[in-house]
Structure formats: C-alpha cells, structure tokens
Symmetry: C2
Subunit: 127 residues, 2 copies
C-alpha cells in the first residue's frame, strides 16, 4: 500500500510541512519520523508545521504535534505552528498541550516571517 | 478511496506545489485541476512546481507538466519549475516539451528568489 507521506519542503534554513490530508495514526507516526530525519539531515534551523487544512485532531494527533514540537526543539530547531483552526486550538488546550515553547502564527507567510526574524536575531552564534 | 492530493502551499503571492510522490494519471489530473483552481481563488502571481523528488516521468506526466505551465501562464501567473532531475529533463526535451515560457531553477529556494525578483520587477502594473 502506498503510504500518504506528508511532503516536507526546504526553503533556505527552514523546513515547511503542510498537512492537507487527514492524518491517520500510522501516517502521523511516519510523518514524525520523516520530519526528525529531515531536520537532522538538513540541519534546518526552523520548522513550520502548517495545520491550516486540519479541521479536527484527536488526542493521539494532538499529542503527536506536541511531541514533534518538543523533539524538534531539542534538536535545536525553532518550531512555528501556523493556521490553527479553532477546534484544533480547543482540543490542544483541553488536553493541556499548550505548546509553551512553540511560536504560532496565523498563516504560513506570517510564520515564515516570524521564524526568519528569530533566526536573524539569534545570528550565527547558534550555528 | 482517498486520493493522493498534492498539497499546494501559499507564501505571499506565490503558490508552491512540491511533488514528492509518484504521480498516477488520475492524481496528476486532479493536481492540475486543484492547481488551476487555487491560482484562480488566490490570484497568485507566481507558481513554483518543485519536481526535486520526481525521478522519472512518462509522456503523459511530461505533457501534463507542460500543460500546467501553459495554462497557469495564460491565467497570468509566472511559473517556475525547480529541481528537475536529469532523467526528467531528458524526457521533456526528447518529447519536444522544452517549456520555453517557463523559468527553471536548481532548487526551491532559488526558484522562490527568482520569482520574487520577477514579481518585483513587474511591479504593480500587472496587478
């Protein structure tokens, strides 16, 4: 069976993953693995997870989003989550996953701008 | 059956579609329709089709890529194709689809830069 892999784009030092399909548990775990591997390979300094097209999440996916943010942060990558819909934000907060270490932005464009600002501010020291 | 839709990202005035899966004929046609619809809805001034992960194309897909470029161009959107692998470039040229109206770039980042330069140069006149 062909797995529904989430494409991961690289623009400069930033990886962008836009979830535009329903994440099943197995594809979500595959996504997490792919993402961490790509961060390691590309030494990306920023990661944007775009959830604009995600209308609802269950507790498994909510936890996974939170895990991805923590893991990528631990690897030294700044994480921005963009396009959270109300229902997704509600689920995350109700589950106590308030992603304190994560930047959020209204859309992909704003997220990219915020991330590039942060990367520039941190300068070359963190390379 | 869940269709394998190619995600289309919007960054500023530019749409980005990164093909990271094998395009079957039906998903390719779906992709073309989605893309033209998104161009119309978002009034995007640029479109990047990233083929980095595409290793080979058959004549149907090659023709479709060429068609997308012509159609998007007709709608007023500048098209950049990035990350053409040798085998794909060979197929396109052998089929006589040399995409004269299309910019190409080595990777997504360079494609985005080229496109934004073109959009800036054309200024607001074409809005």
């Amino acid at each position: 069976m062909e797995s529904l892999r989430i494409p991961i784009l690289k623009i400069g030092e930033v990886l962008i993953a836009s979830i535009q399909t329903t994440l099943h548990d197995s594809s979500a775990v595959q996504f997490k693995d792919d993402l961490l591997q790509r961060i390691f390979e590309t030494r990306a300094r920023g990661l944007i997870v775009d959830l604009t097209a995600v209308e609802v999440v269950d507790s498994f996916i909510a936890r996974l989003i939170s895990d991805i943010a923590s893991m990528a942060g631990l690897m030294g990558t700044r994480v921005v989550i963009t396009g959270l819909q109300p229902a997704v934000a509600i689920t995350l907060v109700e589950l106590g996953l308030e992603l304190p270490q994560v930047l959020t932005a209204l859309n992909l464009e704003k997220g990219l701008a915020a991330l590039q600002r942060q990367i520039e501010e941190s300068g070359d020291a963190s390379r």
